[in-house]
């Protein structure tokens, strides 16, 4: 039994590597077709992020929002709600923290804390809406959350234009954040800020929440089988609302942290896309909070590698979209090399059986 698990685990690693390898092969072909410096481009893509400390810092910086939305989506999906509100929650969270940053004078230590907490709370509130529409009126969560994202964006712009906008700014942007509101940088030479620590804490806490507390237990049971949860005496309504609020809180928090950690003013002119990225991360992590960092790192590495490639070589930044897509699809492909996997399972199971027989 132990042997079987080992062999399977080793196989899973080989499989993932093979998927990445194949995806890179395809990427290389695409690069080969269009680039005069394909080798350099590929090297920049693969090794770029670890070629300089600052570049690795970029990976970590990008991981922070991905960790939050990845966790957010994991929790929301765990309750079997395809709520895509993390996109909108992230956005309004970012806006909420900007509001606190620009309109309130608070001491340095407290200012960002209030900012991101408010961001989280706003996220929690908006994430509840699709769930309520579903529970009360049976409206499809995926669709209503998609629509709500647009509504939140326009509401956000209204709020920005009429309450936060800096008329001196040459663009639709808020007033500048005071230094007291900004998050501390923690790695000299990079922009990595204390948000990374908060994110890691969030991963641990959400892992514990989902797997070691009764609320997480309730969410998982509701997600796996709502009828069973109801039958077991769980308040399904409340559990779903709570799960969506926790998810929304995380996404909002992520927005606030991204804003106060990486920006000097609120500048988004469209939804920033981290919600969709969160879906990618969560699915790669199979909704398991403990695996979210792996998914987030993977995606961040891919993106930064692609950036470095398109900055430093002649590969256009749009090609990168294709490469990312290929890599993501192949890595998440369950049936990729499944014949081999089934063969291993078969061989090991049969070996187990005959071992048992011989023992007898």
């Amino acid at each position: 039994m132990i042997k079987k698990l080992d062999r399977l685990r080793r196989f899973e690693m080989i499989r993932t590597l093979a998927a990445v390898g194949l995806a890179l092969g395809i990427a290389f072909l695409l690069i080969l077709f269009t680039s005069e410096q394909p080798i350099d481009a590929l090297r920049a893509f693969i090794l770029g992020p670890i070629s300089k400390f600052r570049y690795f810092g970029n990976v970590l910086e990008l991981m922070i929002p991905l960790l939050f939305t990845g966790l957010a989506v994991s929790v929301m999906f765990s309750a079997n709600q395809f709520n895509l509100i993390s996109e909108g929650a992230f956005f309004v969270g970012a806006l909420g923290s900007s509001w606190i940053a620009t309109n309130f004078l608070l001491p340095a230590g407290i200012h960002p804390v209030v900012g991101i907490l408010v961001a989280g709370l706003i996220g929690a509130v908006v994430a509840m809406i699709p769930a309520i529409l579903k529970l009360k009126w049976n409206a499809d969560v995926l669709v209503s959350s998609l629509m709500l994202n647009y509504i939140l964006m326009f509401l956000g712009f209204y709020f920005l234009n009429y309450h936060l906008r800096d008329p001196q700014a040459g663009d639709m942007a808020s007033f500048k954040f005071p230094d007291s509101a900004r998050l501390m940088k923690i790695l000299p030479g990079t922009r990595v800020h204390i948000g990374l620590i908060v994110a890691i804490l969030a991963v641990i806490l959400i892992y514990l929440f989902m797997f070691k507390t009764r609320w997480g237990y309730e969410i998982r049971m509701v997600g796996k089988n709502e009828s069973f949860a109801k039958y077991s005496g769980m308040n399904v309504f409340r559990v779903i609302i709570v799960s969506q609020m926790v998810g929304g809180f995380l996404a909002g928090l992520g927005g606030g942290i991204e804003m106060l950690g990486m920006y000097t003013r609120f500048k988004y002119k469209t939804l920033p896309g981290f919600g969709w990225d969160g879906v990618i991360v969560a699915i790669l992590a199979k909704n398991n909070p403990a695996l979210v960092p792996v998914g987030a790192f993977f995606l961040a590495y891919l993106r930064i590698g692609a950036d470095i490639m398109s900055r430093s070589t002649d590969v256009s930044s749009q090609l990168v979209g294709i490469i990312q897509g290929v890599v993501i699809i192949l890595v998440a492909a369950e049936h990729f090399m499944s014949k081999r996997k089934n063969r291993i399972i078969y061989e090991e199971s049969m070996a187990d059986l005959s071992a048992v027989k011989e023992a007898k």
Binding site: F157, N161, R165, P167, Q168, A169, M172, R311
Partner: protein, 336 residues
């Protein structure tokens, strides 16, 4: 090693220039115009200038690494544009005092001595557009189709309104913002909505989305005014003469020319870093297309006269700079 960054410059007789685009090429106006200017430069100064253009995409958080990379790669001149890059540049330029930076379409802090800034008086070319529009429209309303409710667009708007008012003080302006610079179908619908509510001629300032206005104009057989580059020529390129015929003129923002001029001055040693210039009609950094239509309909003299007056400072066009949302709303409501 180090293939992920350009090799450091060794020869001194070649001027190495990098243009960092905080977005993507293909907007057919702003950044593309910069590219065209640089291409011209490379052609005219073959062997003397090398230009690299880097697209950094739309994600704000990727711009700082891009700028730092460029700053460390040994370029002679690093060019960035738009207000969105301004604060980043103000942060980073002082850390690389030996580098030369040019920023366009915004003004950096003048205390930073290695940055040259230039802004465009788009309100001036928009003034011309407004004057043409109001002349054409007579007593009918005119249209303004903006991409987004942001400063640059509103600077056009302010100039447009003033230009129109200079012809007809009671002019009515229908103003819509598409909310997007890509969705040309939406641009078409909003333009049609304007035409159908009586607008005689519209002015689009919305990148690709604004091109929808030309389609709309063709549908209702009314006139349109283009922006940034010569949109009439664009439609002739696409083989759509019927549509091109309806473009009265385009208000030009000659980013490419201004960059060409700046790099040329840099090579001559006449560009003063630490300085900011506002480039308008006088400098040829903004302008208008003296189209066949303008000539045929007898507006050429009027517009040329306005150009001279503005360039000479006889007419001072207001700017949207510093207007609050409320003030803008008041302005827009006044011409409703």
């Amino acid at each position: 090693a180090g293939s992920d960054e350009p090799a450091p410059v060794t020869e001194t007789d070649v001027t190495k220039v990098v243009l960092l685009i905080n977005g993507n090429l293909g907007d057919r106006s702003f950044f593309d115009s910069a590219e065209v200017g640089f291409n011209q430069l490379v052609e005219d100064y073959a062997g003397k200038v090398e230009v690299k253009i880097i697209e950094m995409g739309f994600d704000n958080s990727k711009w700082e690494p891009g700028l730092i990379d460029a700053s460390e790669a040994g370029y002679d001149v690093i060019v960035v544009g738009t207000w969105q890059m301004q604060e980043l540049l103000e942060d980073i330029a002082p850390q690389y005092p030996d580098n030369n930076y040019i920023i366009f379409d915004t003004v950096a802090n003048p205390e930073i001595t290695n940055v040259y800034s230039m802004v465009y008086k788009q309100n001036e070319c928009a003034f011309l557009a407004g004057a043409v529009a109001a002349s054409v429209a007579g007593n009918e309303p005119i249209g303004f189709l903006g991409g987004m409710d942001i400063l640059v667009i509103n600077d056009f708007l302010v100039g447009y309104i003033e230009g129109a008012q200079s012809v007809n003080p009671d002019v009515q302006v229908k103003i819509s913002y598409i909310g997007d610079f890509n969705d040309s179908a939406k641009g078409k619908e909003m333009a049609l909505a304007q035409y159908q509510s009586g607008v005689a001629i519209g002015f689009n300032v919305a990148g690709q989305a604004g091109l929808g206005q030309i389609d709309a104009a063709a549908e209702v057989n009314k006139l349109a005014i283009g922006v940034d580059s010569d949109q009439e020529a664009l439609f002739r390129d696409m083989g759509e003469d019927a549509k091109a015929d309806l473009i009265a003129t385009s208000a030009l923002k000659e980013v490419g020319n201004s960059l060409y001029r700046a790099i040329e001055m840099h090579m001559d040693g006449t560009l003063v870093y630490g300085e900011a210039e506002a480039l308008g009609l006088a400098e040829g950094a903004v302008g208008y297309v003296k189209s066949q239509w303008i000539i045929d309909n007898g507006y050429a003299d009027m517009v040329d006269e306005l150009v001279v007056k503005i360039a000479a400072g006889d007419i001072v066009v207001s700017s949207a700079n510093g207007l609050t949302t409320e003030e803008l709303t008041t302005l827009r409501d006044a011409v409703k």
